[in-house]
């Protein structure tokens, strides 16, 4: 049992401070974005409409930006700062560079949030009803795009902060294997650097100058393609930190240790290689892109299933090992020996379970010709609320129950809330997501304030279950999920505001893997090589089609801006 003398916060005060403040912004974004989500769930199901329908899209933009970009990026920045210091056993420098990334990201967030909220508040002369995916030629206020750029650039500097900490460790530890958590952070950031080039180019070369009126027209196809160049790997930017927790923290909480360290490295390398050359699978039904390139992206996407399947094996094997260490027996009855009364464990385990369901619905999305049936229907948010909305979000909340006491030196408060919160989330998401999937199959579109068109026959043809039942499950699920956020935030605020305690009951020690890194090929750690191969794969997948789009004129066929 750790005492205050040995908490992470005492050992590495600079990392702990950066992590705490990053979590602070993340949780604020979660509160606001979550509230928007609740209002949307009640609005589009016509249970209760608090705002006129055009404002739905303002909230939808806010929900996407605050949760998918801000909550995730800040939480990840905090988690990685902890992971680097914890596994390298050294503090972050904590100098002006360290602080510059946090400040840049925070200023960017405030700018983007103000531009979005401006659509609701007449005193703020801005709007950005363009959704998280930008939707050129709809045009938002330039402040929105500048805010997004600052958030991105800040995350790049954060990556540099982690790399330079690793390089300084390397000087003192020549010849040693890269510790697993650090390896995961570095590989994730390399993927992030590669993939954010797409959205950075989109905003800096095209969208920002166009929104400022410096160029009159831009090509929606090029900007869209650059967005999705980034838009799929960002999914893995959300997931890989959850994987970091599942590979390193979850086995410990289960009472055991990781099954195989080398395979964890293989999985992360596969994600670095395959995450980016897949973006066309978001554009299967777009004009202007030939079928062959879509097919290449589809093949790469399917092979991306492999590292997730390997993860499922390793994580379940590690949990089972933990359960058996705790006296679990039998083929399945070992499940009963797991610490289901431990919120950090329960949250991660339930997140993993729902991720399996989300993985299977993702395979349907990836199936190029099946995609016609589900593209832009409610099936898709049904899918990603299981992945980013649960695999990542619930894991992040679960990690917080375990990590925040170590960052603050304060024992977790309101433990009863923490205990039921993962179950509330699981139930809410099961209701909302299954209903969204089924709604998608009967053609209910996503991103709409009022799915109540005057269709022949009066409504969407009913598939499994009735339309009313689907709407009701979405609303009830949304209410439960918001309750889950309130419970989580109550625990965080109570813990953070509480007094320091002599013991905190948790520590950051990660037990070594059953099969360690020693016997694995050293080439696995050669991140420069893997990055180079990833670049080559991107050039193969994107070089020719992007060249085609640019060859007919960088800004043509051009579109004039339209204010939503």
């Amino acid at each position: 049992m750790a005492t205050n003398e040995t908490t992470f916060a005492d050992q590495f005060p600079k990392s702990a401070r950066l992590t705490r403040l990053s979590f602070g912004v993340a949780f604020t974004a979660l509160a606001i974005g979550g509230l928007f989500g609740l209002i949307q769930a009640l609005h589009r199901t016509d249970i209760y409409r608090v705002l006129p329908s055009p404002d739905y899209y303002t909230l939808l933009t806010g929900h996407g930006v605050l949760l998918a970009l801000v909550f995730t990026t800040f939480f990840i920045a905090g988690l990685f700062s902890w992971g680097i210091s914890n596994s390298l056993d050294r503090d972050l420098p904590g100098d002006w560079i360290s602080w510059s990334w946090w400040i840049m990201m925070t200023v960017g967030t405030v700018m983007a949030a103000l531009a979005i909220i401006g659509a609701l508040i007449p005193q703020i002369p801005m709007q950005a009803d363009v959704l998280f995916t930008f939707y050129v030629p709809l045009k938002g206020h330039p402040v929105f795009y500048i805010g997004v750029v600052l958030l991105l650039v800040g995350s790049w500097v954060a990556g540099y902060d982690w790399f330079r900490t690793f390089w300084s460790w390397r000087k003192d530890n020549r010849g040693e294997r890269i510790p697993l958590q650090t390896f995961m952070v570095l590989i994730t950031m390399l993927m992030w650097y590669l993939s954010t080039m797409g959205v950075a180019a989109e905003v800096l070369i095209f969208v920002l100058p166009w929104s400022l009126g410096l160029v009159s027209q831009i090509d929606p196809l090029i900007t869209r393609t650059l967005f999705w160049f980034f838009g799929h790997p960002v999914v893995y930017f959300w997931l890989l930190p959850a994987y970091l927790a599942w590979y390193t923290v979850l086995p410990k909480l289960s009472g055991g240790r990781l099954f195989s360290d080398p395979l964890a490295r293989v999985v992360f390398v596969l994600f670095l290689l395959l995450s980016t050359p897949v973006g066309y699978h978001h554009q299967y039904i777009d004009p202007g892109i030939s079928e062959g390139f879509k097919f290449v992206a589809m093949t790469n996407t399917m092979f991306l299933l492999l590292p997730s399947f390997l993860t499922a094996f390793t994580v379940v094997a590690s949990i089972e090992h933990g359960a058996r260490q705790r006296g679990g027996k039998g083929y399945l009855s070992w499940l009963r020996s797991l610490p289901w009364d431990e919120p950090a464990f329960t949250g991660m385990a339930l997140a993993g379970l729902l991720f399996a369901a989300g993985g299977f619905s993702g395979m349907v999305n990836a199936g190029m010709n099946l995609n016609y049936l589900v593209h832009n229907t409610l099936w898709v948010p049904g899918h990603f609320h299981l992945t980013v909305g649960t695999a990542a979000a619930l894991t992040f909340m679960a990690v917080s129950y375990w990590l925040v006491p170590q960052l603050t030196g304060k024992k977790l408060r309101l433990r009863a809330f923490a205990l039921i919160q993962p179950y509330v989330w699981f139930l809410g998401m099961t209701l909302m997501s299954n209903a969204m999937h089924r709604g998608g199959l009967i053609g209910l579109p996503r991103r709409t304030a009022e799915p109540e068109w005057n269709l022949p026959g009066g409504s969407f043809s009913e598939g499994i279950g009735s339309l009313n039942e689907i709407q009701l499950q979405i609303a009830v699920g949304g209410i439960l999920l918001f309750t889950g956020i309130v419970l989580f935030l109550a625990v965080m605020v109570a813990t953070w505001m509480g007094r320091e305690t002599p013991t905190i009951d948790v520590d950051s020690t990660i037990p070594p893997a059953l099969s360690g890194a020693e016997n694995s090929p050293r080439i696995l750690d050669n991140y420069r090589l893997w990055f180079a191969i990833a670049v080559v794969l991107v050039v193969i997948a994107y070089g020719v089609p992007l060249w085609d789009m640019v060859a007919d004129g960088v800004f043509s066929p051009g579109s004039n801006p339209v204010t939503p």
Binding site: L138, S260, I285, P287, G288, K294, M302, P557, P564
Partner: protein, 181 residues
């Protein structure tokens, strides 16, 4: 590097599943002949489409695109083609007058937008396209039975996106031939 026997079996099974999925897609393409929307619809000038819709330009001046008419145009045999414009916040044809096609026909749809992105979703079918200014989405659809399909805009296009809807009427050949349009 030690890889557990179970993990080898699991990996092989996962690879088999992946190859299986890819095979089903290849089969869908070469068997039932599901083709993807691609670049063969060509490009056009968004401003010209906009001007033609406002009667400021003749449709013959618009590159790669023809005047949208409520009735599909006969090409040959059972083959027809139809030009549709999606705009804030209507389908033309579709919203005011339905798009009319004969039953038992194969219709190639050409769809473009004068303003922003739209979605062209025929509810309850796999006809589902992204419509982009400057690009022409082309897809060939078989309409076997008479009936009415709804079109909804499945891509966010602005503040009144949720009211954008239309209809496709599939009518018997004799009825189709006897109507004006």
């Amino acid at each position: 590097m030690e890889v557990h026997r179970f993990e080898k079996i699991w990996t092989a099974a996962a690879l088999l599943l992946i190859v299986g999925f890819i095979s089903t897609i290849v089969y869908g393409a070469v068997g039932p002949g599901v083709t993807m929307v691609e670049d063969d619809g060509g490009t056009t000038d968004q401003a010209d489409v906009s001007a033609a819709l406002a009667d400021e330009l003749d449709w013959s001046q618009v590159e790669n695109f023809e005047a949208p008419t409520p009735k599909a145009q006969h090409v040959s045999g059972d083959k027809y083609e139809a030009y549709v414009v999606t705009k804030q916040f209507a389908f033309q044809p579709g919203t005011g007058q339905p798009l009319r096609v004969p039953a038992g026909s194969t219709v190639t749809l050409y769809v473009t937008s004068p303003d922003v992105l739209h979605g062209f979703e025929m509810v309850g079918t796999n006809v589902n396209l992204i419509i982009m200014p400057g690009q022409i989405s082309e897809i060939t659809v078989e309409f076997d039975e008479p009936g009415t399909y709804s079109m909804v805009c499945s891509e966010y296009c602005g503040a009144a996106h949720h009211v954008m809807e239309g209809r496709v009427e599939v009518v018997p050949q004799s009825q189709f031939d006897s109507t004006e349009g």
